[in-house]
């Protein structure tokens, strides 16, 4: 069961919040938690789901947006 990806494969509101937190560049889960106000455990599990769904890319120093994630937040407030 996913919290950041809905059954239709699109990010939920929490997922979109996480994507927005990555708008300015790659960030660690700790940095995303600070910027989004979400608890660290939710950020870690949410970023993992977003990575599995192809919206973000896990890097050694954190996560960064993939084109699908960037496109999605460019069309959502």
């Amino acid at each position: 069961m996913a919290a950041c990806i809905s059954p239709d494969g699109k990010p939920t509101q929490s997922g979109i919040k996480l994507l927005h937190a990555l708008k300015s560049g790659a960030k660690s889960p700790e940095g995303v938690a600070q910027d989004s106000g979400l608890p660290l455990f939710r950020v870690r599990s949410g970023l993992r789901e977003l990575a599995q769904a192809g919206f973000v890319d896990p890097k050694a120093d954190g996560y960064e947006l993939l084109p699908a994630g960037r496109e999605l937040i460019s069309s959502s407030p």
């Binding site: 996913a2 919290a3 789901e49």
Partner: protein, 211 residues
């Protein structure tokens, strides 16, 4: 089915990846924060409902101490969702923390939450205090009939975190602001010096100080 085990104090907390009301969560997602993992016997039961409301009420205090809460029972995630919605609708309390749906009992077994003398199918009321390095620091087990005491859970967290921060122990019924116990000396020389160090000493092995 895994053999039932009981974690021991000071051991790494048994690992898990769980389906919860807030998505799939791994124990490692909590690294760097403290975690209270607690089990309850079943959704839609009265004692558990009072406990969930009480846990929700102390959640803010726990967050101030860097502690997250994670519930567990041997129920489905749909049952958990229906129950927390019911608690919000009927009792006006939102449950802000995730609840594990441990239908296959894997996590309950790993944490020794099923005590067959109480029930073969439901978890007893366990509380595991897990620190930011994912070490089991304290455990509480209550029977099915008896709701837990939230003040004691907060007091326990305060005592553990105070011991870590100041290298001290805490006496019976200690609460924040009370004097703490200076660890006993372990050589004769240290015992003699201890009495000159300005602590409130009952004897060489029993000294208190204010923080």
């Amino acid at each position: 089915m895994e053999e039932a085990r009981f974690p021991r104090l000071g051991d790494p907390a048994p690992d898990f990846e769980a389906v919860t009301t807030q998505g799939t969560i791994k124990l490692s997602d909590y690294k760097g924060t403290w975690l209270i993992l607690f089990s309850h016997p079943a959704d839609f039961t009265p004692v558990c409902t009072t406990e969930f409301i009480a846990f929700a009420e102390i959640y803010g205090e726990l967050k101030k101490r860097g502690v997250e809460l994670l519930g567990l029972s041997i129920d489905s995630v749909n049952s958990h969702i229906a129950w927390v919605r019911n608690v919000e609708e009927k009792m006006g309390v939102k449950i802000p923390f995730p609840i594990i749906a441990d239908l296959d009992k894997v996590i309950a077994t790993r944490y020794g939450m099923i005590h067959e003398g109480q029930s073969k199918t439901a978890a007893v009321r366990c509380v595991f205090v897990i620190d930011s390095s994912q070490i089991v620091r304290a455990m509480i087990y209550y029977p099915l009939t008896t709701g837990r005491n939230m003040a004691e859970i907060l007091r326990l967290v305060d005592a553990l975190q105070t011991s870590d921060k100041h290298g001290v122990a805490t006496p019976a019924n200690w609460k924040p602001g009370d004097k703490v116990i200076v660890p006993p000396p372990n050589t004769q020389e240290m015992a003699e010096e201890r009495l000159k160090q300005g602590y409130e000493c009952k004897d060489w092995y029993f000294c208190l100080k204010k923080l």
